[in-house]
């Protein structure tokens, strides 16, 4: 057979095949055409999105649900700038995605060419690393490095900007596994002395608490943490993104902590004498008022990113390393703790302050999500958008296993949920995947109904429709004398008709009595995507709540009677 020198675009696609990529989420354009052309002959499946932001969230959902990197391919200029929100989302939540962007031809760089944007410049603050390809012979090394950097250590997004002349010109450079990354190292095992010190502190603690974050999910440390908790007889709480690392149904599990966490989780945080953060970054949503956060407790911090140590909280012991390896090394050093009184106290809080919602007065989001949990039995992959529905879903849809809860935490990106569900569904064809979204966020990426429909991806979209930006309305009610400003989404479409316009099956729930029947029907529907619109009561609030900047002990468990002071903390 005649040997034909591949183009740069072909070489890039071949490198992706070599990395084991099976899906690319993308949208074409002039500068990206060499890569799109190469896809015609590739076994990689292209998922043509309707907006580039959707592509990044699909890749992110693919990545979070599998641990494998999600890949995005877009064109220059606006195509590339539309990925910025998705890059930020992936960076904040340590999600490995690789974004390939077309770019104007090299000689025109910096000359305001058509659809030119300084994409590496625009994206510096929202990537883990990035490349501008100036020489086709570097393509194999850059692609290998991009996947290595995206997926190792603390994962994150990597962007590769590819001028069209590089994509179109020849590239006969051989594939390579060599990395030229002298400044990059990946922590593995933790320091033995610090682990021994941690074991001693854990054994001495009377009221220890394990605080589990996304890092534990990424490192697949859940099993080890469960063993540690059982051996120590220590309660476990997790962050929004740590859901599923340890089965939230486990008797030692107190659920989510933080701003809208369970009251018993937050009481345990306020009452513990040792808190051990595992792959968690002591976010402002967790600590509340820092000066009053666990002031008397010993603090242990396990993290793979050394820049997290002391960023917010000064730990007594910091262990740099992979969460699973650190905990596995710790377990043999642990002796059975004497925590009977502490566990009894936690259980008393659990009984005294359960998650509650009114059963009367119209259809409640909490009821819908409570039933969703019952019907999916914690085995479905659940994605969410951002806002009230997200917090209710976190409270009621307990996660049983790793990588089954995909939510935009750090960035709080509305519009994440539905495309992330499509990406997760394509990556996990045998799984039930539910997106729980609000009416506000859904409208930011709803065009991806078409993408799901084309691919017959049977992801289910549950729209919790209160015709408000509900969390904003809640804050305005509680802290701004109910002066509603820009939170009423009047003009919402009929979401059932909207879905049907895309050829997507859709149901509406108006009464509590219909919840189980409709959810079950959607759960069993496998012919393609479907939409369930739950028309919930317009004005409902998420509790418990720790106002931003308030101490954990100032948690509001029940709806307050009077006016509250404006929060002082971050947003």
């Amino acid at each position: 057979m005649e040997h034909k020198t591949p183009t740069g675009g072909e070489k890039i696609i071949q490198c992706l095949e070599r990395e084991g990529v099976d899906y690319i989420f993308g949208l074409s354009g002039g500068a990206a055409m060499p890569m799109f052309d190469a896809l015609v002959d590739s076994k990689i499946q292209l998922v043509l999105v309707r907006h580039e932001q959707g592509a990044t969230h699909m890749a992110d959902g693919y990545a979070r649900s599998t641990g494998r990197p999600g890949v995005v391919l877009v064109t220059s200029g606006p195509g590339a700038t539309n990925t910025v929100t998705g890059l930020l989302t992936a960076l904040m939540d340590s999600s490995p995605i690789v974004v390939l962007c077309g770019q104007t031809i090299s000689p025109m760089l910096g000359k305001d060419a058509f659809q030119e944007a300084d994409v590496t410049g625009i994206t510096y603050p929202v990537v883990k690393h990035s490349y501008l390809v100036k020489d086709a012979s570097q393509i194999p090394r850059i692609l290998r490095e991009a996947f290595h950097v995206a997926t190792t250590g603390r994962p994150g997004p990597v962007l590769i900007d590819i001028p069209k002349d590089i994509g179109q010109g020849p590239c006969d450079a051989p594939f390579t596994d060599e990395l030229d990354l002298p400044g990059y190292s990946v922590p593995g095992r933790g320091d033995a002395e610090r682990i021994a010190e941690t074991a001693r502190l854990l054994s001495e603690a009377k009221r220890p608490l394990l605080y589990v974050g996304h890092g534990a999910v990424i490192a697949d440390a859940g099993k080890a943490i469960t063993t540690l908790a059982e051996k120590l007889r220590a309660p476990v709480v997790n962050t929004l993104l740590g859901k599923g690392a340890v089965d939230e149904h486990h008797p030692l599990h107190l659920g989510m902590l933080g701003m809208h966490g369970t009251a018993y989780a937050n009481k345990a945080v306020a009452g513990c004498d040792l808190i051990m953060g595992i792959g968690a970054r002591w976010d402002d949503r967790i600590t509340g008022k820092l000066e009053e956060f666990c002031t008397d407790a010993v603090k242990i911090h396990v993290d793979i990113d050394p820049a997290e140590f002391g960023k917010i909280v000064q730990p007594d012991v910091a262990i740099l390393g992979d969460a699973r390896l650190v905990i596995e090394d710790l377990i043999p050093l642990i002796e059975m703790g004497d925590t009977k009184a502490w566990l009894a106290q936690c259980d008393a809080w659990r009984r005294e302050f359960p998650l509650r919602y009114p059963k009367k007065g119209g259809l409640r989001a909490q009821h819908v999500l409570d039933r969703l949990h019952a019907i999916t039995r914690g085995d479905a992959i659940i994605t969410t958008d951002v806002g009230q529905h997200q917090m209710w879903a976190a409270q009621f849809c307990l996660s049983r296993s790793n990588r089954h809860w995909l939510s935009s935490g750090g960035a709080g990106t509305m519009g994440f949920g539905w495309p992330a569900a499509i990406g997760a569904q394509l990556a996990n064809p045998g799984k039930k995947v539910w997106a729980v979204v609000g009416d506000g966020g859904f409208q930011m990426t709803l065009c991806e109904l078409a993408t799901a429909q084309v691919h017959r991806a049977p992801a289910k979209c549950l729209i919790i429709n209160n015709n408000y930006l509900g969390m904003i309305r809640q804050w305005q009610e509680l802290f701004y004398e109910n002066r509603l400003s820009g939170s009423d989404l009047e003009g919402n479409p009929d979401f059932v008709k909207l879905a049907e316009a895309y050829g997507v099956k859709a149901w509406r729930i108006k009464r509590a009595a219909d919840v189980d029947r409709v959810l079950q029907r959607a759960q069993d529907y496998d012919e393609g995507p479907c939409v369930v619109v739950a028309e919930v009561v317009k004005e409902d609030n998420v509790f418990p709540m720790i106002p931003a900047g308030a101490a954990v002990s100032e948690m509001i468990i029940e709806p307050p009677k009077g006016r509250l002071a404006k929060p002082t903390g971050s947003t």
């Binding site: 603050p125 002298p182 400044g183 000066e291 909280v313």
Partner: protein, 175 residues
């Protein structure tokens, strides 16, 4: 426990830190480094970039004022950049430091003797002698140059170019 935002700003001037950053010699690295400072609202006071002993690496010497714990975080975030090989805050160690200044003075004949006396005291060389101006080249610690410039204050300094601080760890220490 550190709470950057909650603590009131101290009244005393913030300490100046000298940070050495050893980086890949690649396009864009300077922007990545600068963003770590600008994101937190820090002003880079001086910056020297030059090739390292091996051409594939560059050396950046950066001075910046800020609270110790804030700068510690900045150094960690610099080290986290994929293109940064290492970043070290040399403020507390006894590294050798030097800076060069070029000072152009508008200088009448009457003032010349005094300028030359000051220059001699500071071992500054006259590198350009014009009818009504002269250019001094001085080197030494940044503090010494500050003192020289203050002393020349009453004369008319037309232009001032300083190299920014250069620094090297002593003995077997790593810069």
């Amino acid at each position: 426990m550190s709470a950057a935002a909650a603590n009131p700003a101290p009244m005393a001037p913030l300490p100046t830190h000298t940070i050495s950053v050893f980086v890949n010699n690649k396009p864009g690295v300077l922007v990545r480094v600068a963003l770590v400072f600008s994101r937190r609202g820090f002003n880079i006071e001086s910056l020297v970039v030059s090739p390292g002993a091996e051409g594939r690496f560059s050396r950046m010497t950066i001075t910046c004022s800020g609270r110790n714990q804030d700068l510690e975080q900045v150094v960690k975030q610099l080290a986290k950049l994929v293109d940064v090989v290492h970043a070290i805050d040399h403020t507390a160690d006894q590294s050798y430091e030097v800076e060069i200044a070029l000072i152009k003075l508008e200088c009448s004949l009457d003032a010349r003797t005094e300028v030359l006396q000051i220059a001699e005291h500071y071992k500054a060389r006259v590198v350009d002698f014009g009818a009504e101006s002269l250019v001094l080249q001085a080197h030494g610690s940044s503090e010494k140059l500050d003192a020289l410039i203050t002393l020349l204050g009453p004369m008319r300094i037309v232009e001032l170019v300083r190299s920014g601080k250069l620094l090297m760890a002593r003995g077997r220490g790593v810069t």
